[in-house]
């Protein structure tokens, strides 16, 4: 899996450590092991692995996390450009 890495320094994930209460929900929901919890605070340990799915931000009870969530799909982004709306996967059900 180590060779399946995507672009660096591009994701919009932000963690506000002040607000964090260390509940650990972000580390549970993240499918790419971006977070660990140390000394009752979340830490971002693998930022470039983030796919901006939005699971961590949505499940953070104190809104310490923010990310511009969406789908990492070229067809969806083209649809977004063409229709002027937010990218969505309504590309005939192929995703």
């Amino acid at each position: 899996m180590s060779s399946l890495r995507y672009l660096e320094n591009i994701v919009t994930l932000k963690l506000d450590t002040e607000k964090c209460v260390g509940c650990g929900m972000c580390a549970v929901v993240c499918p790419h092991g971006v977070f660990t919890i140390e000394e009752r605070k979340a830490q971002v340990v693998d930022r470039d692995a983030c796919i901006e799915c939005g699971a961590c931000a949505g499940n953070c009870p104190v809104e310490a996390l923010s990310v511009k969530a969406g789908v990492g799909c070229a067809s969806a982004i083209i649809n977004g450009w063409l229709t002027g709306e937010e990218p969505s996967c309504d590309c005939g059900g192929s995703c």
Partner: protein, 308 residues
């Protein structure tokens, strides 16, 4: 059905289902109403007793439905109330697949209907072990993978979604192939067209099948880059086979066209992959599309010029 052919028929009615003979203390599993998902969960849970709460995700799988917002906090609350779950079970826990988390806020579900959301494993074949160990997931259960088998299974999905553009392109290539010194020649349309179509299909195959399979071993991070490199390689291979009869203009056209088409198709595989971010894909596209267009334009002009 995975390929998107007649997919809309593979929907099951949302609501509460029983696996085995569940009782008041049996776990409640939440899932999507895509028939393939439903069937796999039932198969993996064979021999266990559980409730299966099926959300209305319009026949879409859990992860994509969570991204679209149909596998959501509100839909869970709605189905919990519709099934009268408070009366049916004597605990207050819902096991929601981890990949549903982008659409669900666990704390909001708890507040609205009193049920605590426990995120279960990503793959349903880990469910029996997850339940046996007191609803705890190992780190491995929490990570998405993208194995060779996954990538191989998904390549026809891409091909199936591209067939309409492919047919139009083939038609256009035959028409363009006929343009030459005699203005238009049907014999040239056939002889030059068939080579151009072969080149196009080689690009399609390289970008949509070879690149996804070889993904970890191709250099570059962006899918468009990996696709272009694979395209240059298969283009070279194509040249070795055809080169004697082609001439330099056609040869250059072949190389540029295979790389451009392959890069474009590979870029679209981002949607099937499990490790791309929307910010990343958008950045890659803004850089790659002008390059792909330039390659295709120059390649196309070389090919047209070669007729004269």
């Amino acid at each position: 059905m995975r390929w998107g052919l007649g997919r809309s028929r593979y929907t099951i009615a949302p609501g509460l289902y029983a696996i085995g003979t569940p009782a008041g203390d049996s776990p409640v599993l939440v899932t999507a109403n895509y028939k393939m998902t439903f069937d796999i969960v039932r198969r993996d849970m064979r021999g266990h007793d559980a409730w299966l709460l099926v959300l209305d995700t319009k026949g879409i799988n859990v992860w994509c439905a969570a991204g679209k917002g149909t596998f959501s906090t509100d839909e869970i609350i709605r189905q919990v109330q519709r099934a009268n779950l408070q009366q049916l079970v004597n605990h207050r826990t819902l096991i929601v697949p981890q990949l549903g988390a982008p659409g669900v806020a666990a704390h909001k579900v708890h507040k609205a209907c009193g049920f605590k959301v426990v995120y279960g494993p990503i793959r349903s074949d880990d469910l029996p072990q997850f339940l046996r160990t007191g609803q705890t997931a190992t780190p491995d259960m929490r990570r998405v993978r993208f194995t060779l088998t996954d990538r191989f299974i998904l390549t026809p999905v891409e091909l199936a979604s591209m067939w309409r553009y492919t047919l139009w392109s083939i038609l256009a290539l035959f028409i363009l192939g006929g343009i030459g010194p005699q203005i238009f020649s049907f014999s040239a349309a056939w002889s030059r067209g068939i080579i151009a179509v072969t080149v196009g299909l080689l690009g399609l195959f390289t970008g949509a099948v070879i690149t996804p399979i070889l993904l970890p071993w191709l250099p570059g991070r962006a899918f468009a880059t990996r696709g272009a490199i694979a395209g240059l390689a298969t283009g070279m291979l194509g040249l070795l086979i055809f080169s004697a009869s082609l001439g330099w203009l056609n040869s250059l056209a072949l190389l540029l066209a295979v790389a451009a088409v392959s890069s474009w198709c590979a870029m679209h595989f981002t949607g099937s992959s499990t490790f791309t971010s929307p910010s990343g894909v958008e950045k890659e596209m803004r850089q790659a599309i002008p390059a792909q267009a330039a390659f295709l334009l120059v390649g196309g002009l070389c090919w047209l010029a070669a007729a004269f």
